[in-house]
């Protein structure tokens, strides 16, 4: 079948080109992070630089990147906790309970999905300011902690569970909260992981809100610290690339370990 052979050839060609285009900038970043500023634009991408890890050492001496990393980890973990807790509760409510207000509640959730942070950043800042939360961890973390998409993903997982489990637990006299947390939630652990991974990564990349709500260096998250470093030292290209590599490493490890859940999360945000 020459025609199907041609098709395979074309498909592999597309993939090969896509792989080269995907990895060239990544390789370039890695290579530049190991070079002196003078070498970056004059030597080929796959040549070894003479800076060694010098760019990493000097960048870390100038800015407290490990503090930024800790801030990012903290903010992202709180976001995961808030989203799993509130998302599972609300998702369970929409999946397994019928009450008069549920349609109104559902509309509220749908509307909230259409409100992007980018359009409410001013009033949100004013509100958080009135709480006295500017330049605090509470202000940095809480206003954007809840990823509402979590409600949808949990609801979908719960709808698929037979009601019998819940009825049986009720007959056994289990309380409603216990049913959710000891019976139902353990049955959808993969969904918990999908929501966690999705939320963690969303928060990890959060840039606009931390930029607006913090000005203290000690509260900076990794994305803010990286951007500020670049703005302040923009001629030390090797150091900027070292910082980019450092920012990419946690995500890379996290992604390679949990890539199945990344993919599932992406699909469930796109195709609800």
């Amino acid at each position: 079948m020459p025609k199907s052979l041609l098709r395979k050839f074309f498909a592999y060609g597309v993939i090969a080109i896509a792989l080269v285009l995907t990895f060239y900038p990544v390789a370039w970043m890695l290579s530049a992070s190991l070079k002196e500023s003078g070498e970056i634009f004059t030597t080929p991408v796959f040549s070894s630089g003479s800076a060694g890890l010098g760019n990493y050492v000097s960048a870390f001496a100038e800015y407290p990147f490990f503090l930024y990393l800790l801030n990012s980890v903290f903010a992202s973990l709180v976001s995961v906790l808030v989203t799993v807790l509130l998302g599972a509760l609300a998702g369970y409510s929409f999946a397994k309970f019928r009450y008069g207000l549920s349609t109104v509640f559902w509309i509220v959730v749908l509307v909230s999905l259409m409100i992007p942070l980018e359009a409410v950043v001013i009033p949100l800042f004013l509100e958080v300011h009135s709480f006295g939360w500017t330049n605090t961890y509470a202000g940095l973390v809480l206003p954007t902690a809840f990823n509402v998409v979590g409600i949808f993903i949990f609801r979908q997982a719960f709808v698929a569970l037979p009601d019998d489990y819940i009825d049986a637990a009720r007959v056994d006299g289990a309380g409603e909260l216990r049913i959710l947390f000891s019976v139902i939630l353990p049955m959808v652990l993969p969904t918990v992981v999908v929501v966690s991974v999705l939320t963690f990564n969303l928060n990890w990349n959060s840039y606009l809100w931390p930029l607006v709500v913090t000005s203290d260096d000690g509260l900076r998250t990794l994305p803010l610290g990286m951007a500020a470093f670049q703005a302040g030292y923009n001629t030390q290209y090797g150091e900027v690339m070292a910082v980019s590599v450092f920012g990419t490493l946690p995500t890379a490890v996290f992604f390679l370990a949990l890539q199945r859940y990344f993919v599932e999360g992406t699909i469930s945000t796109g195709v609800k």
Binding site: F41, A90, L124, V263
Partner: protein
């Protein structure tokens, strides 16, 4: 059947349902619905954070058509979204199709190609900013076509192109994943039936694949457009809107007008326009979702 209706349990259970929904709803009211209403309120006022807000009615909205910064930003945004969304969706569709043709290493290729989408956005911005340096590798690429190197980020002609190109790199694999899921959901017997009827390559694409992919394509268009409208970090980090405001996307104009110039009223009017655009597109998405669930 849902449990709230079960004869055995009854209204007491329904109350638990309401209780379970309340924390999430409270959060949404506090940090999303109240702010969007507050945003409309501020857009009807002059407010500089220092003195009390002064009611000015629709002054800020009436001024929009003559507001050069806003009109420029609107065009910058529309151009950025258009030139990003169309090529990204074409590329990601072809990439996803190519992955369906591969069976043995599909998972591996999918993972490798997905990397640009999961890479932290600031890292992406910093790398591409350097790649578009006058002495950087993108001028080696441009050198294949053009005689002279291009001052990418220092030219109001080329800077918007540079931002579009890096957005292709960042976004294509995200929609590839979504299209791939769509492709794999098409039942195999569709293709078998087409084969029996003697359909050829292009006919299969035209009459089987594209119609079956319609809902996925529609969703991808909506998602990509909304994500394009929300883009902020690339423009802020790579060009900060310049040169000559040529990359001043609406989100960046809102940020500068509010937090640099403290003109909260005008910036809120911009925000309301941005929200209106995103709301309109999201309603289209909702309509498609309803279509699918029916």
């Amino acid at each position: 059947m849902r449990i709230g209706n079960s004869k055995l349990f009854g209204d007491r259970i329904a109350l638990w349902g309401i209780l379970f929904a309340l924390p999430g709803l409270g959060y949404i009211l506090l940090f999303q619905l109240y702010p969007i209403l507050f945003s409309v309120y501020i857009s009807l006022h002059d407010y500089d954070l220092l003195s009390e807000p002064v009611f000015v009615g629709f002054k800020h909205f009436a001024a929009l058509p003559r507001d050069h910064a806003f009109v420029n930003s609107l065009w910058v945004t529309i151009a950025y979204v258009f030139y990003t969304v169309v090529p990204v969706l074409l590329m990601s569709f072809v990439m996803a199709w190519a992955l369906t043709q591969v069976s043995k290493s599909r998972g591996l290729f999918r993972t490798l190609l997905f990397i640009p989408s999961v890479m932290p956005i600031v890292s992406v911005a910093l790398v591409w900013k350097l790649m578009f340096n006058f002495n950087g590798p993108m001028n080696d690429v441009a050198g294949l076509v053009l005689d002279n190197p291009v001052p990418w980020l220092n030219s109001s002609t080329y800077a918007p192109i540079a931002l579009v190109v890096m957005s292709w790199w960042h976004a294509a694999s995200y929609y590839m994943i979504i299209f791939l899921a769509g492709f794999l959901a098409i039942p195999k017997d569709f293709y078998e039936a087409a084969e029996i009827d003697g359909a050829r390559g292009w006919q299969v694409l035209r009459y089987i694949t594209l119609p079956a992919m319609k809902p996925t394509i529609a969703l991808a268009v909506v998602l990509a457009t909304v994500n394009g409208l929300k883009t902020f970090a690339f423009q802020q980090i790579v060009t900060n809107g310049g040169p000559a405001d040529s990359t001043q996307i609406l989100t960046l104009l809102i940020y500068k007008t509010s937090f640099s110039y403290l003109d909260m009223g005008r910036a809120s009017a911009y925000s309301v326009v941005l929200f209106g655009g995103i709301l309109a597109i999201s309603l289209v998405q909702l309509w498609f979702l309803r279509d699918r669930n029916a």
